[in-house]
Amino acid sequence: MAVMSEPMSADVVIRMEGVQKWYDHFQVLKDIDLEVHRGERIVICGPSGSGKSTLIRCINQLERHQKGRITVNGVELGPHHRQLDTVRREVGMVFQSFNLFPHLTVLENCMLAPLKVRGVTKDEAKATAIRYLERVRIPEQADKYPGQLSGGQQQRVAIARSLCMNPKVMLFDEPTSALDPEMVKEVLDTMIGLAEDGMTMLCVTHEMGFAKSVAHRVIFMDRGEIVEQNTPEEFFTAPKSERTRSFLGQILAH
């Protein structure tokens, strides 16, 4: 079942160095160092409030870090809009709550950013949108509105919408947490398909089955720190830290 079709390359797509972030006096990220290689698939897990969502949201600056450096595809995120624009064009994100645009059809959802951000032609945007909707296996829903779709279908549209921007990296922020159990699989299967195509992926998720079969590396976070990171085999069979062991004990117990 393991997806290891394409090896990751040596070049670094995302580099975080000494990243720190506070909400008022509460430190959510403590001195985060992380390198993500092209083609690498990382699963980030940890208890709620451990900073895992904040970490990936700093990569496209939905949250601003206060200290340290974040470099994406060679562009260092700074105070200037130009770098942020460049990075956001290259980084796709999928949210827990889908966040499709409810006033636009599925097709229009997928076409908006390519049209308005990349400036491609309408025909090209449409062709791309249909291609990715086929890829997530819901081309027949193209003219419906998000409200008419099930949660699983919405999340697949959200993945297609991100892919239409042709991103170098995909960030997933608990993509299956808001789904009914019977819809989790269709979304995970879509993500596995992406992994097989060699997409660089950072996934915050509690789906440990997905982590075992897809991830090159599993990162465990707690209280704003990266506590432990390892290959899935090592991580699940021989966790080094006590905190990891107790976390795994809790989520794998049932």
Binding site: N60, D85, R88, F95, F101, H103, L112, A113
Partner: protein
Amino acid sequence: MIRAFGYNEFLFLLSAVQWTLLLSAIAFIGGGIVGLFVALGRTSDVKPLRWLATGYIQVFQGTPLLMQLFLVFFGATVMGIDMSPWVAAALGLTLNTSAFLGEIWRGCIQSVPRGQWEAASALGLRYPGLMRYVILPQAVKVAVPPTVGYLVQVIKGTSLAAIIGFVELTRAGQIVNNATFQPFLVFGIVAAIYFALCWPLSLLSQRLEARYAAPTR
């Protein structure tokens, strides 16, 4: 020279309705344009813009409309600008309307879930595109019923322009009353005309609200 209230007096009142409607339209359109910027300022990430918009709204919401009209009308004279009651009324009402619409629309913009901003930003849309294609189309749906409802306030507010000498419906009523001295009849008719203008708008507002409150398509 007391005349009886007759057909001509009634026609005079009716013809004054056009000035009430025109003044309302100017205040509403002008107020809408300025109000959009006030609403954008109020919801901005830029602190000084937010403060400026907040202060603007508080000044206009915290003082009587009549005082605002006085200040515009007499203020212009003090500054040596010869301003007709027309221009003063239009300007005063536009400013006032923009503050109220700005505050109504702020609420509508903020009612769009945070996730919509995040998804649009993550896709690389910058503020103008994000607002135009994602946030405002959703905010407009919420905004239509209260905005139509507020139009009623604008129409009624134009009656204050009578006091700075602009001849609209209320001022026409005063003129007719001075000639006929039948205040109850005259102002009763004036009130009935206002009601005939405003009531359909109130109904429309309620109907729109019911429609938009229905579950999404």
